[in-house]
């Protein structure tokens, strides 16, 4: 039978794996940091930082490209 702690771990794991936007990624990073602080022996959960960091790179790149494209459109309109 699953303990409450296992349930919490599963929910955090889902939050980490589902994060795609910058706010979701930052929230998941904070939650994962808090978990690792409370459970330093849980080395495996640290693997989640890899995916979050890669998703952050993708989201930041898209945001930068979006800003560039907006500024080009504004430049053409002016």
């Amino acid at each position: 039978m699953k303990s409450q702690l296992d349930d919490l771990r599963d929910r955090l794991s889902d939050q980490v794996l589902d994060a795609t936007t910058l706010p979701e990624i930052h929230a998941a990073q904070q939650a994962l940091r808090a978990w690792i602080k409370e459970h330093p022996e849980d080395e495996g959960m640290r693997d989640g930082f890899e995916q979050l960091s890669l998703m952050q790179d993708i989201a930041e790149q898209e945001e930068a490209e979006g800003a560039r494209s907006e500024s080009l459109t504004a430049g053409r309109a002016a």
């Binding site: 771990r9 599963d10 794991s13 889902d14 980490v16 794996l17 589902d18 795609t20 990073q29 994962l32 940091r33 849980d42 080395e43 495996g44 959960m45 640290r46 693997d47 989640g48 930082f49 890899e50 995916q51 979050l52 960091s53 890669l54 998703m55 790179d57 993708i58 790149q61």
Partner: protein, 200 residues
């Protein structure tokens, strides 16, 4: 470059040489490694093809699974941001399971001896991806055990990330009708986990 960074670089070069030999796949690693002090992550293979490793982890035996995992990303075909995001379980699950399957052989080939219990493979977070992939592999009856399982995952690594669901689906279509129906049900559920299109 300090001593630890030089050692990590040499270890990654060794691992990648062994993995290329075992899988027949070329690596796209840039040859650069950066040790990041106080990193949250253990390791990260950037889309620019550099590898970053947590500096504190690089000093411990526990670094080996991370080094092998990141080295496998460098062999993975179609490792680009947009496809990674859309099919992340098809990449992280494949790479992590291959890391677990190949690690003993890689360490033997590199003459690495570690303390017993130095590595503990975790059920979360990537364990959910591995469970989904293993369900599909069992339905396809890919041979059970070390070599058969390795073949299944190496074959997936050889296909671009975005094509991996199609590769498994095509294999499922080869099954006899009764088993194909069960496979299709399993595929829908597994693919939802692997692409994170799961219902809350």
């Amino acid at each position: 470059m300090d001593e630890l960074e030089a050692r990590t670089l040499a270890e990654l070069q060794g691992i990648i040489a062994v993995l290329q030999e075992l899988t027949g796949l070329p690596s796209r690693w840039s040859g650069r490694v950066e040790l990041v002090p106080g990193a949250d992550f253990k390791g990260k293979k950037r889309f620019t093809c550099d590898i970053q490793i947590d500096a504190a982890l690089a000093e411990r035996d526990a670094r080996w699974p991370t080094l092998i995992h990141e080295a496998l990303h460098s062999l993975s075909v179609g490792y680009v941001g947009t496809d990674y995001r859309a099919f992340r379980g098809w990449e992280e699950g494949v790479v992590e399971q291959l890391q677990r399957l190949l690690r003993p052989l890689v360490l033997v080939k590199l003459d690495v001896v570690t303390a017993a219990g130095a590595f503990r493979d975790s059920e979360r977070p990537y364990g959910v991806f591995i469970e989904a992939l293993e369900t599909l592999r069992r339905h396809l009856e890919a041979p059970v055990g070390g070599d058969g399982a390795t073949e299944f995952y190496v074959d997936l690594l050889k296909h671009p990330i975005r094509e991996r669901p199609g590769v498994v689906l095509a294999a499922g279509y080869q099954l006899p009708v009764a088993r194909r129906v069960l496979f299709m049900q399993a595929f829908s559920a597994a693919n939802a986990v692997l692409t994170r299109n799961v219902m809350p």
